[in-house]
């Protein structure tokens, strides 16, 4: 019978050791889990920030891209040609331009040719617009003191400076003023500047007019005066007795004046003192060419002088070209939108870009805005070859 032996004591964890080991293990797991959670959260935050930053950069770049290339306003490859429309409702009125009123991207030749009594085509040659003293064709030659209700006591400046190649100046009697006729078949001394001015207005609207003209231009031209108002067959322009179309004296260019009869030609700064002329590319732009053409010839008060929130916000909406940059994004991604507002006010071209970021997860919205340099309207049109005429 084998002798009973005392077995060597078995090595094993005590309960305390086990508890300690389990505790440490648990602690490690908790720490690791917390670390993983933190890492995961930090990663997610970093990822989200990264995504948002990428979207903000995209919005920023989209704004700069639009400032340079104007594709949001006009892109035939994408079917975006609303600003090329022509309002031909005036064609029946024997409009001196070829065919009615255009928009900022209407090809010059589509509205303006030299087959009518308005002399010349658009001429963008820098030499033609040079301010050299010998280049008198490009000089404004009207009467700067000509007010709306003139009695022509300082003479007939329309004979120096007119958009008509030939001119009749008939007699006129109204409102205590009696003016004798000056004559018929008069050939005004210079017609080039007035022709260019009238043509630009008709093709491009007022924002385009300011963009195309030299910064020192005076905003008024001369035309034929009809004492009883314009006949139906002649363009519909009302002109004061001195020969200035009243749209430059009492129409949208009117200055804020305490004396109606004191309205005179003005510089672009004075014409936009508190007012703005915009490039109407907003999402609610009317499809109707006539309504859109009218928008491009309207003035909005955006600073003092009786403006209010509705007017300003309405203007921002009409001018703001909006672009949703991520229409197909995952639903939990932030949405980024870029708005570009182009308008002219107080003697300055504003190219205002607004980038908005909306987070569908947190509900947060943020935005930043900036004004930037960009291609001029004329530059954009030249890039699209809209100013040339077919040979």
């Amino acid at each position: 019978m084998p002798a009973l032996s005392t077995a060597a004591p078995r090595r094993a964890f005590t309960m305390i050791e086990l508890l300690i080991a389990v505790s440490i293990g648990t602690l490690l797991m908790v720490v690791a889990f917390a670390g993983l959670r933190a890492a995961s959260s930090a990663f997610a935050t970093g990822q989200r920030l990264s995504t948002e930053n990428a979207l903000m950069r995209a919005g920023f770049i989209a704004g700069l891209d639009e400032l340079d290339f104007w594709k949001g306003c006009d892109d035939p490859a994408d079917g975006r040609v609303a600003l090329r429309q022509v309002d031909d409702s005036r064609a029946a009125q024997d409009h001196p331009l070829k065919d009615g009123l255009g928009q900022p991207f209407t090809p010059m030749a589509e509205v303006w040719d030299d087959s009518t009594e308005l002399p010349g085509r658009w001429e963008g040659d820098a030499q033609r617009w040079s301010a050299h003293a010998d280049n008198q064709a490009a000089r404004w030659r009207g009467n700067f003191a000509e007010c709306m209700d003139t009695d022509c006591r300082f003479g007939r400046y329309g004979v120096f400076f007119n958009q008509r190649a030939t001119l009749d100046i008939p007699a006129y009697a109204r409102d205590n003023v009696a003016l004798p006729a000056y004559g018929a078949a008069i050939a005004p001394r210079e017609t080039w500047w007035c022709g260019q001015y009238r043509g630009l207005t008709s093709v491009l609207g007022y924002y385009g007019l300011i963009d195309y003209l030299p910064a020192n231009a005076i905003h008024a031209s001369y035309s034929r005066f009809y004492p009883e108002g314009p006949p139906a067959g002649d363009w519909g322009q009302y002109v004061n007795a001195g020969g200035i179309p009243v749209e430059w004296l009492t129409g949208p260019w009117k200055v804020h004046s305490w004396a109606d009869s004191n309205r005179t030609p003005m510089t672009r700064y004075r014409a936009t003192l508190g007012y703005a002329y915009g490039l109407m590319a907003g999402p609610d732009a009317p499809a109707d060419a006539a309504a859109l053409a009218a928008r491009h010839r309207e003035q909005t008060t955006i600073l003092h002088y009786g403006t209010n929130g509705d007017i300003v916000r309405g203007f921002i909406a009409r001018v703001g070209l909006q672009d949703r940059l991520t229409p197909l994004r995952p639903s939990h991604w932030p949405e980024v939108r870029t708005s570009v507002l182009r308008y002219f006010s107080l003697g300055k071209f504003f190219n205002l870009c607004i980038v908005r970021l909306a987070d569908p997860v947190s509900g947060n919205q943020t935005q930043f805005s900036f004004n930037g340099f960009g291609t001029t309207l004329r530059g954009a049109r030249q890039q699209r070859d809209l100013d040339s005429y077919a040979p």
Partner: protein, 613 residues
């Protein structure tokens, strides 16, 4: 275990660093956008500030020569219309930055700037919605590198260039009689019918007394209108005292309607002026294009004579039709005073030629002689050469004097121009003051605007930092940064006026004063009790830009904390995030913050005012 520990520590360290890197990346985007706007506003905003007095008797009378008009980014851009304002100094002093750059800049007198909460779009702030949150406001920035001495935007004695239509009658202007030369001729001041309080003054006669003939002869009007010659009795032929009608078609003023005979007498006066200047028929009855003179003094006289002559002769087209003019309208010789006018014959073609030559010779003169001020520049053709190069001669002995209406001692350097200014004449505001002696000592080496320069001399830098300054408890109640006093739009001297009058009786047309008032003007609090309101209180009723009034204008009682000096200086704080609530951050004012450098942008620092496009 060690591996786990290392992994956890690594995660805890690296991921926040990654988040910080992303935040920096975002701020760099925002800084880039802001820098584009700064450069745009600096170079393309119209900075004419026309609604202000531009001329004084002494250079310190008007702000033209002060810091607020310097062509430097930090002078022109911080404005409620340009989207930038200085951060309150009390807050800016709490920032630590790399190399203590912020503290150093502040010690040198610079400001730290932040982005105003509105869009920079020239919109009336009352019409804008509350601003959504923008991290752009967490960016602060400053301009480093020293500004250079700039060209003068305008000479504070005489705001050249003066502009006039061409052709036009003698240059006259609204003037209430202050500071006119001693014993002016009777007709150099004249009133408006039934409103003699409006007085007009024949400024151009200070340059050439013969201009009086073209304006009104005899200078003391004859009660018989048929014995008066010149522009005034033709255009506004009232009974004495001679008058000036603003409403030519107003029925009650038609008794002052001009006549054909008056037009002829106006032409005769202009003809006499030509004769007195030695100009023959080739000038006053030109048959073709005249040759511009190469002599500035001669050219100035020719241009002035043609300006009058073309204006007078064109008036004939109101009274004669083309057929009559083609046949020729004879202007008989008459005796005006001791002089005999030349006889002349005007046709349609001669009038057109007069008009042509008046414009052409004027354009040549103005482009060729920027330093001859013998004639106003044509308003229809403003060009770069209308603005001669003038700067302060900082090596000159300063001009001593006193502040008008206050008596405090003042001084200013003398101006120096690229070439000597000839025919400087008198200013239209203070024609009694001779201007020939205002210039420096004549050492042209002191004129540096046209000197060669190295590229780095014109290079300055904008530095952006990110710092959550809106976390401070006083970020809306802290006072505005100190403001240069020249940002207060004070009027020019008026007779019998004291400083208080000049500080209060001067219109502030907000849309025409870009560079004046507190840059935080649109969001300033104008009530001393606002800083003690509870957090979250509605502050819209006490926000200056929302009120539509000018609580910051006027001298006021300094002891009254609601008086204009307190409000102009922004001592009650501002709604700096424009949520129209009073906000307080969680951090006490005693704590400091670390401002992280985000970006640096170099830009070209020009020395002469310019506006692109």
């Amino acid at each position: 275990m060690a591996l786990v520990a290392i992994a956890v520590v690594t995660v805890l360290v690296l991921f926040p660093a990654g988040i910080k890197a992303q935040q920096h990346a975002r701020f760099r985007v925002l800084a880039s956008a802001k820098m584009l706007e700064l450069v745009d506003m600096f170079n393309t905003a119209n900075d004419g500030n026309p609604s202000m007095d531009h001329e004084g008797m002494e250079p310190w009378d008007v702000p033209m020569a002060y810091r607020s008009r310097a062509f430097d980014l930090e002078s022109l851009v911080p404005s409620h219309r340009s989207g930038v304002a200085p951060l309150p100094l009390a807050i800016a002093r709490r920032f630590d930055s790399d190399g203590d750059e912020i503290a150093t800049l502040l010690d040198e007198g610079a400001h730290l700037y932040y982005t105003l909460p509105h869009m920079t779009g020239n919109f009336d702030e009352r019409a804008l919605p509350n601003a959504p949150s923008s991290e752009q406001q967490r960016l602060v920035f400053a301009v480093t590198g020293y500004a250079q001495e700039n060209g003068l935007y305008s000479l504070p004695w005489k705001s050249w260039p003066y502009y006039s239509p061409y052709p036009s009658p003698p240059y006259h202007a609204h003037h209430e009689g202050d500071w006119l030369p001693a014993a002016p001729a009777a007709s150099t001041k004249f009133g408006v019918p039934e409103n003699s309080a409006i007085e007009l003054y024949l400024w151009e006669a200070t340059q050439d007394p013969d201009v009086q003939i073209v304006m009104q002869w005899p200078a003391a009007p004859d009660r018989d209108i048929s014995r008066n010659y010149g522009y005034l009795p033709y255009a506004y032929p009232s009974a004495a005292p001679l008058a000036y009608a603003l409403y030519p078609t107003d029925a009650k003023l038609q008794r002052y309607a001009p006549t054909r005979e008056g037009a002829i007498r106006y032409v005769q006066a202009a003809l006499l002026y030509c004769r007195k200047k030695g100009l023959d028929a080739s000038f006053y009855q030109p048959g073709g294009i005249l040759t511009p003179s190469g002599d500035a003094a001669v050219a100035a006289v020719q241009v002035r004579a043609l300006r009058f002559m073309a204006h007078a002769a064109t008036c004939l087209t109101r009274w004669y039709d083309k057929a009559a003019l083609d046949a020729g309208v004879d202007i008989p010789s008459v005796t005006i005073g001791a002089d005999v006018t030349p006889a002349a014959r005007y046709t349609h073609d001669v009038i057109v030629a007069l008009h042509d030559n008046a414009l052409r010779l004027c354009d040549h003169y103005c482009a060729s002689f920027p330093y001859d001020w013998g004639g106003p520049r044509p308003i229809e053709r403003a060009i770069m050469m209308d603005h001669p190069l003038i700067q302060w001669d900082v090596f000159s002995t300063p001009i001593p004097g006193t502040v008008f209406g206050d008596g405090r001692v003042a001084s200013q350097w003398k101006p120096i121009s690229g070439s000597p200014v000839t025919n400087i004449g008198r200013s239209i505001s203070f024609p009694g003051k001779p201007l020939e002696t205002i210039w420096g000592d004549g050492d042209n080496r002191h004129f540096s605007l046209a000197a060669p320069f190295a590229a780095e001399e014109r290079c300055r830098q904008v530095v952006f930092w990110a710092v959550d300054w809106q976390g401070y408890e006083d970020f809306e109640t802290a006072a505005s940064a100190p403001i240069d006093a020249s940002r207060y739009l004070k009027g020019a001297p008026e007779r019998n006026a004291d400083l208080g009058w000049m500080m209060t009786n001067h219109d502030w047309v907000d849309g025409e004063i870009w560079n004046y008032r507190n840059p935080e003007k649109a969001i300033l609090f104008f009530d001393q009790d606002v800083p003690s309101l509870p957090t979250g209180a509605d502050v819209a009723p006490w926000t200056l830009g929302l009120s539509g009034y000018e609580q910051d204008r006027g001298r006021g009682d300094v002891a009254n904390r609601d008086s204009p000096p307190w409000i102009f200086s922004g001592l009650h704080g501002a709604d700096r995030n424009f949520n129209q609530r009073l906000d307080r951050g969680p951090l006490p004012a005693s704590s400091r913050m670390r401002a992280s450098t985000i970006a640096r942008f170099n830009y070209y620092d020009g020395r002469v005012h310019q506006c692109l496009r």
